[in-house]
Each structure stands twice: as structure tokens, then as C-alpha cells.
Symmetry: D2
Subunit: 207 residues, 4 copies
């Protein structure tokens, strides 16, 4: 049995994964409640859609390996912050910051880390707002704090990111460079258009 | 404008209703997490299905009226415990008590009231386990404790209850009495069969 | 590579499975449309819930093996009628026959086989109405007739069947016989109660 | 009773609306099956999301009124093509035409009308591909051809359209003109970026 199987083929591993799934549910519920509330009081809801995923077994193993960390359940909980991932897609840039603020303000949510790739885009043009939060989840016998990575971005940023993601599988290096340049240019145009659309919305809602 | 419209046609009423909807979501999430966890460790999941409903505007108004209470938003929150309703359908009788216990044990859930119509069936044969619980729900600006009625029953009890419910619309009194008697007899047989099925399950899982 | 992997680890196998999934969707849509229509015109909807599952890769392989049939994609389509399975749970016995009749009457549905285990229960007490139907499904390049097994039963029959299913994993033979006897007795009581409940419903709806 | 109520408060009206709901389900199922199939064979699925809505009672009435048509159930079926509406959101422009072609090619789908606002954008900048299709839907007693409007657009076009929609409620005319001009400019930039992103995708997938 390989090192990978020795950890992932255990009941304890399945239970830990179920816990991350539960944490995802809790965060989704919190976000859906906020979205429902705000849909009532504003013209449009701040959240366009919510996606979530739990990190694949294989990726968990490989990330620990890459980090040089021990391969164990404790090590997963200690060293990986993105086993549970929730992605929030907003229509407008200012909604991103509003949603983040309202989530973090809740007294059972602990903010562990923030990375604002909107104010500081990555070199390739990637824009998104990332937070690691910790929330308590109730199981049959105990209450466990669980970590969840929350990524918040606009529809346009998300579209860009999904195309950029496909580039990872592109091996023709010469052409790749050219494509990366064009992708970067598109990212900037998209960010610029997002700001113009936000200004239009502000003009519309202003009296 | 009627008294009914004066209260239900306000934005404040809509907001209160959205809050009850949110409380329903929270309770459902808690139950789904428990069910997922227990599905992992036992052969079958304790919960067969979960239904929920928010009380209709008209029924809220009529219940306050019938109780002789004031028609106001404060009065709704104070006097009605079943605006938010969650129904949990279990396969076996013992799962009912397990689910109830696990929910109430969570430290953000406050148990307000219990009515055990399984140990003490209603005169017509109705069986079900009822609880009023209070849970905190996070909104954009505040954390509010909200009340939810949780009804837990077996598949068979639920089937019986839905037929009995149809009787409410039966006006042919003479025949009604006869039907009620037959319904009562069926309720007893169903409760008896539920216990026999539970014993069979126990025999199956015993080593 | 084992014989099992040689067939299931191919893209063609994945495509065939996706086709069965699509057939399940089509049958579910047909049933949901009928249920919505009938909910409008009668007090209660005839269908209480719909479940569906596609046969596991391993079970497909083992069934072909057991039948002594060739292990190939053509053989799956030719010899297995239950790769796509839809289960319809009705509240009342007469709804079972109504739903079956309405589905089979549709001019793009071909009835391949019927097994009525309600009129002719299995020796162990199992009751359910089974049909194999064939429906056309539209893919990007072609229209394919696909087979689906549709099982229709009452809530009570379904509850019984799920408990009986657990018995398959019971190996203590002596006790097993005793349990089987008790299960059979419960199945008869449940069938009897189903008929009594149906009569009560008829009395309620009669003027 | 008003003319509006005389038609919408009837059981026949409810039945007709249920039929349009059923037609929406059928079209959604067809699209989901295509999307599932294509997700298997290409890197990304062509459809990013599907939304649907049935036209509000009030809007149905007002549209007939505005058209100068009779207010009757027959008139709805004859004169309105958009009571049932399905919106398909694609990531890339070419997916729009692929999805449209695959839907229309199915032999139970009849194409009634096409309006290509991508090739010919509206004056305000609106871009989207619109089709009216007719599909047969099976009810308990009959098979009825029903009309559905299918709108297909990119994520970016959809975002633009939702903002433009809010402008409808803007009454400050002077400022409105300015906003419309800016919206038109954004629409053009978005369409341009959509084409650049499509070219990047083509470069990525080219060998």
C-alpha cells in the first residue's frame, strides 16, 4: 500500500473530509442568509452565485508533500487552509468588500488570513479577494472549529480566472508567452470595465 | 386597508419573514450535517427526509386573532412559536429521539418546549415529536435569536398525518365519525408495525 | 489490467454511462410534469418522491459475469435493463397504477416489460411495480433509444424494502430465518394497512 | 371583478401556466443533457448556467393589452411567445451558436423565430441570441406543443444586460442620456473583450 493510500483509505480520513464538507455547508448558509437579506433591501442581490469544492484527496497529499510536511490527519488540519473552499461571485467590485466585511463581523467567525489580489493583482493579472476563516461546526458528539478558504471576485474576474486556469496545461512555451501577455491585457481591461460598470451603477442609484 | 393588509403589506413584515426563512435554513443545515456524519458511521442514515415551511401570512394573522393577541410584529415573535417549521422524517422510532437529543445538545440551540405525541398520542391517533427551539441567526447588522418548531416523526406516522389532515375538509359528519374511527385504528396498527420494524432492525444489527 | 478495468476505464464506457444518466433525467422530467399537473387538479399529488440511481460500475460487471454474458459495451445495452433506475414513491396504491398508465401512454415511451410484485408479491413479502421502458434521448449528434427501469411502490412498501435490503448482509443463518418470518408478517400488515388507508381516502373524497 | 382577475383567477389559467412551466422543464432537461455530454468530451462545459422564468400574470395581461389583442387563454397561446423563458449563459461566444444549433437540430424541436442581437446589437448596445422554439409536452391526457423563448448570451453580455435593465427605472432624463452613452461604450468594450478571450481560448486549444 502506498503512502497516499495509507492515509486516504482510512475511515478517519473520510470523517475528516465529511467535517470539511460540513464547514462548507455552514459558510454557504451564512452567505445565503446575508444575500437573502440584502436582496430584500436593495434592487439587486450582492451575490450572483456561490460555488464550493472540497480539495481532492490526491491534491491534499501532493500539497503536503510539496510543503515538506508530514502526511497525517493532524498535518492536514494544521498545514492546509484550503481543503474546504467556497467561491463567491459578485456582480460589482464594492459588493466583494461588503460581503467580506459582513461575514467576518459575525461573532462565531474567526478571520485567520486575508489576501487582497484586487488591490494587489498577481503578476499574470489574477484578481480576487481571499480569506481564511474558522467557524465552529456541530457534530453528534462535539463542536469543532474548521477552516474554510473563501474567495470573492466579480463575474468578470471569475471568467478571466477560468480561462487563465486552462493555460496551466499549455506546454508550447513560445506561444504561451504571447498568450500570457494577451491574457494580462484582457485582465486589465476587465478590471477597468468592472470599475466603469460600478460607476454606472452608482449613477443609477444616486438620486 | 384591512387590519390584515396593514401588517402584512409592510417592508418590516417581509423582513421578519425573511428572518424566519433564515432560521429554517440554519436548522436544516444543522440537521443535514448530523445526518451526513451519521450516514458515514452507520449502515443507514437516521433521517429519511427533511421538509420545511414558513407559516402563511393569512394563518399568522388568524392564529393571533384566535389567541386574542395583538396584531403586530412584536406579537408575532412573542406569541407564535411555529412561524418557522421544520419537519424531520425518520425511518425508525429510535432515530427520532437520537436526532432530537443531538440537536438540543448543541450549545447555540436553546430548547423552549417539548411535546411528545409519540409517548402520548392525541385522541385521534396523531403521533409525532414536537420541539420549539431557539437559535441565533446572523444578519448584516445583528445577531438575532429566532424560534423554530421542529416536528420529528417516522415515515409511517407522516403518511398517516397527511391523510388525517385531509379529513379537516370533510363535512359529512355522520360518515366522518366512522372514518375517524378507522383512521384511529390505522394509526395504532402503524405505530405497532413501526415498533416491530424497529425490533427487526435491532435483530439485524445485533451480532 | 483486469477485465473489469479494461471495460470501465475507457472513454466509451463513460459516454455510455452519461447516456444512461441522461435517460434518467428524461424520465424524471416526464414524471415531474405529470405530478405537477395532477397536483393542480387533485387535493394531493400522486407522487410523494422520486429517487434515481445509475448502477455502479462494479455491479454492471458482476451482473454480466453472473449472466454468463460477454463483457462489452454492446452487451451492457443488450443484456442489462436496469443500468438506469428510477424509483417512484406514491402515497396510495391506486396512484401506482395511475402513474404507470400515464407514463406508458406517452407516444415516445415504449414499454418493454412489466413485473407486478404488488398483485404477485415475492415469497419474502416484497411488493413493488416494475417496468422496463425505452425512451429516445437527444445528444449532440444523434437520438438514441435508452432503457430505464421504473419501480413504483408506496411509502410503506419502500420502507419495508429498505429494511429487507439490510438483511442481505446478515449471515447468522438461524436467526435470519426468524427475522425473515417476522419481516414477511410485517410486509403483509403493511400491505393490508395500505389498502385500509386507500379506502379511507376514497371515503374522504367521495361526496 | 376586473378584466385582469377575470382571466387570471381561473383554474384554466393555472393549468395553462403549469403547461408553460412544464415546457420550461423539458427545454432545461434537453440543455442539461447536451451540457453533460459536451463536458465529457471538451475541457470546459459550454454552458456556464441556465436560468428560467415564467412571465408574471400581470405582465402577460399588460402585453396583450399593449398589443391590442384579446384577453383570453387562446390569445395568450397565439400571441405571446415569451410566457416560458429560458436563459442560457455561455462562457464563450462560439458556444452560443453551438448550443443553439444542437437544440434546433433535435427532431421534436420546431424553430419558430430567430433574432441575433449579437450580429446585430440593439441601438443601446444590447447583445444576445434569441430563439422561439416549440416542443411537445406530455400531460396526463394529451401531448401539447408549447412555445418557449430561449435567450443565449455570454456571461459578460448578461452582466451588462442586468445593469442596463436597472436603467429602466431611472427617471432623471438628463443624467440618463449620459449613463446610456457610458453603458453603450461598456457594451462595446465587453463584446470586444469577449472576442479577445475567445481567440485566447482558440490559441490555447490549438496544438
Amino acid at each position: 500500500m502506498s503512502e497516499f493510500e495509507k492515509i486516504t483509505a482510512t475511515e478517519e480520513f473520510d470523517i475528516l473530509m465529511m467535517r470539511y464538507d460540513s464547514a462548507i455547508r455552514e459558510v454557504r448558509t451564512k452567505l445565503e442568509i446575508l444575500n437573502n437579506e440584502l436582496s430584500l433591501t436593495s434592487v439587486e442581490s450582492p451575490i450572483s452565485s456561490i460555488e464550493s469544492r472540497r480539495k481532492k484527496d490526491r491534491s491534499i497529499y501532493e500539497k503536503l508533500k510539496r510543503q515538506g510536511n508530514e502526511i497525517s490527519l493532524e498535518s492536514i488540519e494544521e498545514n492546509l487552509n484550503d481543503v474546504a473552499g467556497v467561491r463567491v461571485i459578485c456582480s460589482f467590485v464594492d459588493d466583494i468588500y461588503n460581503v467580506a466585511r459582513m461575514l467576518v463581523r459575525q461573532d462565531d467567525v474567526t478571520l485567520i488570513q486575508v489576501k487582497d489580489y484586487i488591490k494587489n493583482p498577481k503578476a499574470n493579472g489574477y484578481r480576487s479577494y481571499h480569506m481564511i476563516v474558522e467557524i465552529p461546526v456541530f457534530f453528534s458528539n462535539e463542536k469543532k472549529p474548521m477552516r474554510v478558504e473563501v474567495q470573492i471576485r466579480t463575474v468578470a474576474m471569475n471568467f478571466w480566472a477560468s480561462l487563465e486556469h486552462q493555460m496551466k496545461y499549455k506546454h508550447d512555451v513560445e506561444k504561451a508567452e504571447q498568450i500570457m501577455k494577451e491574457l494580462k491585457a484582457c485582465a486589465d481591461t476587465i478590471a477597468d470595465t468592472d470599475m466603469r460598470m460600478l460607476k454606472i451603477r452608482e449613477s443609477i442609484s444616486a438620486k
